[in-house]
Every structure is written in structure tokens, then in C-alpha cells.
């Protein structure tokens, strides 16, 4: 599992045979992460055979293994609901591995203007006002089931996919920013300047709104989000990715065992991202 980061950086040379080339490109730019996916899939099969109750939180690396098995020519469905669990007790203050991996994955670059530069995921430092307890956690789009961004979007560009991933269809985003007003987590950024040389799996451009996509291309191809992969690869194991709708997924089992808090649960948005260790 740990070598997935290295393998991810190996670029497969482009094949001269057209057919071969097309079929490679057809998995939508996942040539680079294909080795990682293979590893996850194998591990996934292994987990399914073991007695799930034996899995400990310390084996979080193995827990990031419930991944999409949907054939790519079929629609996403609500049979899955992709989510994440973040254990804040394992998340170190000052560590930005998840953030770096996200920026790398999505080709996010700074322009020296922190107020307008895009951030899909950021590290938030918390200090309890009553107990003084300090903790650190990554905050990104919470992938709500009933997402306020999708409710308010006039064109339907903000939407929640059937499998629970909240996305912006930048083809029909008019840049009104009402979703940014509506998001309770400040998860969204507006692209304030022209962009070029985007990543294949992360198209983004001036005048549209964007946010964490839960690395949708990776997920579709049976992979896990870049932030979770990085956190696991560096042995922090603070993030678990998986299927909330599958009661046997490591994510669901861990949630059942130790629970997980939704941010702004008073809004009843049923977020896909949950947190542990947030007790004042």
C-alpha cells in the first residue's frame, strides 16, 4: 500500500498503437494511478473474506479498501454512497500531507493571493473555548446528501451525484457564487483568474465555482481520493474512505463501532464526511 504514492508518479509512456492508446486514454487519464488502483482492488477482495470485527483502527491502511466496482459504462447509482471518516486524534497539527496531495492531484497553484486562491481542502486548527483542548483536522466539501449548494444553484450546475458525491458541472456554471453563499462549510472557491494546463481529471477555469470532488475520477475507477491515499501512505491513517451504504464496509463498521460526528449536524444535511474526536 505504501508504494502506491511512488507508483502514482510514474507516467506511462504513450503507446504508438492507436487502439492501445485510445483504450488507455479512455480510462480518463487514470493511466498514472492504475497501479494504485490494482493494489486497492486486491486488498479489497482480501478484506471481504476476513472477519470484519477483527479489523482495528490501527489498520486503517487496510480499511481504505471498499472501492467502486461499478463497470464504467454503467450509470452511477444510489447503491453506493461514498463517504469519509476523519479521526482527528490521529491528525497532526502542522501536517499538510492531505492538502499537498490534493493540490498535486488537482493541479491547484497559488498566485500569491491567499484570499482568492482556490483551496479544496485545508487544515483547520481548533482550540476548545471551555477546555482548551487543541486539535487539527482537514476540512473540505462535506458531500451533503441534501446539499444547500445544489438547492440554490439556478442552473443545476451544482448537483449531488447518485452515489453522494457533490460536484460542480462547470459546463453550465454561470459563476453567480450563490452556492458559496449557501455552503455551511465554506468548501467552495471561485476561480478568480484564467487557468491553463489543467490536469486531465481536474478541469477548472476562470469564472466558475469549484470544490473538492472526492477525486471522482479516481473513485469511479475503483480508487480512493488523493488526500486519503496520502494520509494512509504516510502512515497517519487519520482518514478512511468508503461506502456508507454498505454495512460491511470498513467505514460503516468503524462508524457503527465508534460513531462519527457530522459538522453542523443541526442543519440535518446528512454529510458524507464524518469526524471523530470532536468533543469539546
Amino acid at each position: 500500500m505504501n508504494n502506491s504514492k511512488e507508483t502514482a508518479e510514474v507516467t506511462t509512456p504513450v503507446n504508438s498503437s492507436r487502439r492501445d492508446f485510445l483504450s488507455k486514454a479512455a480510462v480518463a487519464g487514470t493511466v498514472t494511478i492504475a497501479p494504485g488502483i490494482f493494489l486497492h482492488r486486491t486488498a479489497g477482495a482480501a478484506v471481504a473474506d476476513t472477519d470484519v470485527s477483527e479489523i482495528e483502527a490501527s489498520e486503517a491502511a487496510d480499511m481504505n479498501t471498499s472501492v467502486s466496482t461499478r463497470p464504467l459504462d454503467q450509470d452511477v447509482s444510489n447503491k453506493n454512497r461514498w463517504g469519509m471518516l476523519i479521526d482527528t486524534t490521529r491528525c497532526a497539527t502542522g501536517c499538510t500531507d492531505c492538502v499537498d496531495a490534493c493540490n498535486e492531484e488537482n493541479g491547484l497553484v497559488g498566485h500569491g493571493r491567499p484570499e482568492t486562491d482556490t483551496q479544496y481542502i485545508r487544515k483547520v486548527t481548533l482550540k476548545s473555548k471551555s477546555t482548551g483542548h487543541e486539535l487539527s483536522l482537514p476540512l473540505m466539501c462535506q458531500h451533503c446528501e441534501t446539499a444547500p449548494c445544489a438547492d440554490v444553484c439556478p442552473t443545476g450546475a451544482s448537483f449531488v451525484r447518485a452515489d453522494g458525491i457533490a460536484l460542480v458541472d462547470k459546463h453550465i456554471c454561470i459563476g453567480c457564487r450563490y452556492c458559496m453563499m449557501a455552503c455551511p462549510y465554506k468548501a467552495r472557491s471561485f476561480v478568480h483568474e484564467a487557468v491553463e494546463n489543467q490536469k486531465l481529471t481536474a478541469p477548472r477555469g476562470k469564472g466558475t465555482v469549484e470544490a473538492c470532488t472526492m477525486c471522482v475520477t479516481r473513485v469511479d475507477n475503483g480508487g480512493i481520493p488523493a488526500c486519503v491515499e496520502a494520509c494512509t501512505a504516510e502512515n497517519h491513517n487519520a482518514m478512511i474512505f468508503g461506502d456508507l451504504r454498505d454495512p460491511n464496509s470498513p467505514l460503516s463498521i468503524e462508524l457503527k463501532k465508534h460513531g462519527g460526528k457530522q459538522l453542523r449536524s443541526d442543519l440535518a444535511l446528512n454529510t458524507g464526511v464524518r469526524y471523530q474526536g470532536l468533543n469539546e
Binding site: A25, R70, E196
Partner: protein, 154 residues
């Protein structure tokens, strides 16, 4: 609706062409892939007429339904048709030499793809320098924010 609109648009197009454009704009030279063994997934004239429909269809299916791997995506067009010239440079979308803009400029049809999508294959993009500068910037901002919070505490 489109049944009536299309002839109208074509008519307007002809009127515009017949005035000045035709005389001034030379017929575009379209870049063919250097590897001659490569063939397009559809015949050339079919692609000329209907490429936008293929791309649009694929776009909505991928975006909303997560269907991936169909050959008719924009990235596949770019991967074959955008290559470096003899001096090793790639003509960007803002130039007339780019595969897409060559025709689109000629036909005076604005393309809305490349504000968000890369205009060249991924293998020709150098990203080595970016990520570290962003990391520094984020850490500076975070440090400033933490200092501000500290300062606000009694």
C-alpha cells in the same frame, strides 16, 4: 425549434461569409497526426459535422452519470491532434495553429472548452515547479491566521 433555427443560422452564416470574411481568411490548414497509422474513431466528414454532438453527449454522461471510457471525449481529440511542431513547441488554443482554433476561427464559432480543459496532451505539460510554492503560501497564511487568533486571546 432547431429545425427552423438551423437553416436560419446557416443563412446568416452565408451572409456573413459572403461579405468580407471569405475574401480575407485563408482556408485553415488542419493538423493531421504525425503518426499516419492513426485513424480517427469516425470518418473525417462525420467528425467535421458532428464532433460537437459527440463531445457534448460524452460530457453530460461523464459529468452526471459517471460513465467513463467512451472514446468520444475531448481529451482523446487533443491527444491525437495536438502535437509539437518542428521546433518542439505546441501552438496554444489562442493561436491559429492549434487544431481546434484553426477551424473555429475560420467558421467564427467560439469554443468554450479550453477555459477549463487543457489545450494540449498532459505529457507536454511541465508541473514541476508549482506545488511547492503553493505549500509555502498556505503555510504562511496559516501561520498568520494562528498568530491573529493567539493575539485575540486574552
Amino acid at each position: 425549434m432547431t429545425r427552423f433555427l438551423r437553416p436560419l443560422l446557416v443563412l446568416i452564416g452565408f451572409m456573413l461569409l459572403s461579405t468580407s470574411t471569405l475574401a480575407e481568411t485563408p482556408f485553415p490548414t488542419i493538423h493531421e497526426p504525425s503518426d499516419e497509422s492513426k485513424k480517427c474513431i469516425h470518418p473525417e466528414d462525420e467528425m467535421r459535422r458532428n464532433h460537437m454532438n459527440y463531445i457534448l453527449h460524452e460530457r453530460d454522461e461523464t459529468m452526471h452519470e459517471g460513465i467513463r471510457g467512451e472514446p468520444e471525449g475531448l481529451a482523446n481529440c487533443i491527444n491525437c491532434h495536438v502535437e509539437p511542431n518542428e521546433s518542439g513547441e505546441i501552438a496554444g488554443i489562442e493561436t491559429k495553429e492549434h487544431f481546434c482554433s484553426a477551424c473555429h476561427e475560420y467558421a467564427a464559432v467560439q469554443i468554450d472548452c479550453f477555459q477549463c480543459h487543457a489545450d494540449r496532451p498532459q505529457k507536454y505539460i511541465d508541473r514541476s515547479k508549482h506545488s511547492s510554492s503553493l505549500r509555502d503560501q498556505l503555510q504562511r497564511t496559516l501561520a498568520a491566521a494562528e498568530a491573529a487568533t493567539e493575539g485575540a486571546r486574552p
